[in-house]
């Protein structure tokens, strides 16, 4: 009898979680996206060195163009790795990938990200390049915090760390790439490793 009851309770709990939270986020997604970020940062460093500009946060237009292209490629590759491992984990768990929870998570994530994107476009337009690194980290962190209620696995701590890092970066203009590498690269890798070991 007790066995049946505890099984029932476990079933109720698991159905509630499966249906309301995005449980298939894979640690490997974090590691993949983070590693992509580090590689991207390395190429960005080379582009900046080649341009020879040493003035804090101020580069010529060709360099800015190259950096934007590099950033977009990095973003696409990181998104690819991020979703690849998570879709794979969903399939392994026998869970549908595209559910209303996925949709809600996407919406919660995309609002702060889109606003942050527009904000960065304004920064680029007025050539306030030095503020971009901090701004992207802050808006990314806010997006993670916003999606927190639909995602399992302590994503809010990652969000908070990104926000703190972004705030520091705002006052450390010229070291943007370093903060980016830490925020989008290493924090993702560390978070991914923790997630992977915890929910393996």
């Amino acid at each position: 009898m007790t066995d049946k009851i505890s099984e029932d309770l476990a079933h109720i709990r698991s159905m509630m979680e499966r249906s309301s939270r995005f449980v298939s986020l894979s640690g490997l997604s974090g590691i993949g996206a983070g590693a992509t970020g580090v590689v991207g940062a390395y190429f960005a460093h080379r582009i900046i060195e080649k341009s020879g500009s040493v003035v804090n946060g101020y580069y010529n237009h060709q360099t800015v163009f190259d950096l934007v292209v590099l950033a977009l490629i990095t973003l696409i590759v990181a998104l690819f790795f991020g979703s690849f491992f998570t879709i794979r984990k969903s399939k392994k768990l026998g869970l549908p990938v595209w559910t209303s929870t996925t949709k809600k998570t996407m919406i919660q994530l995309s609002i702060p990200l889109l606003v942050g994107g527009v904000f960065c476009l304004a920064l680029i337009k007025y050539e306030l390049f030095g503020l971009i690194a901090g701004t992207t980290l802050i808006f990314y962190g806010l997006a993670l915090l916003n999606a927190e209620k639909y995602v399992f696995s302590d994503i809010k701590y990652l969000g908070l760390l990104e926000i703190i890092l972004g705030c520091i970066a705002l006052f450390w203009i010229g070291k943007g790439l370093l903060f980016w590498t830490i925020g989008f690269g290493f924090l993702h890798i560390i978070y991914g490793v923790i997630l992977y070991r915890k929910y393996k």
């Binding site: 009898m1 009851i5 029932d8 309770l9 109720i12 499966r18 249906s19 026998g94 869970l95």
Partner: protein, 96 residues
């Protein structure tokens, strides 16, 4: 509901228990998503949802999206209370 008869017979089936759990934490859930979540067949889900509807534990909405019919479920106030009582009972049994 007395303690002795406290186990709600309606929730004895895993499918019904699962449906109610899903509907406790989500507003409207459509047929396909429910089917995928519970991993049951169409017929199985249809018969269990009909039973829950008969007891007025859930509301059923049928509509057309384009040309395709879509059925969605939502828990009723009565259903919420019944499920909550069932949960309380399960917990009480566990503590004994």
């Amino acid at each position: 509901m007395s303690i002795i008869s406290g186990l709600n017979k309606e929730f004895e089936s895993r499918v019904r228990l699962g449906m109610m759990s899903v509907l406790m934490v989500n507003e409207w859930v459509d047929f396909t998503e429910m089917k995928n979540l519970l991993q049951v067949t169409d017929g199985n889900l249809a018969s269990h949802s009909a039973a829950l509807e008969k007891n007025q534990y859930i509301e059923v909405k049928k509509e057309f999206v384009g040309k395709k019919p879509r059925t969605s479920y939502k828990i009723s106030e009565l259903g919420k209370r019944a499920f909550q009582e069932h949960l309380n009972f399960l917990e009480k049994m566990m503590r004994q």
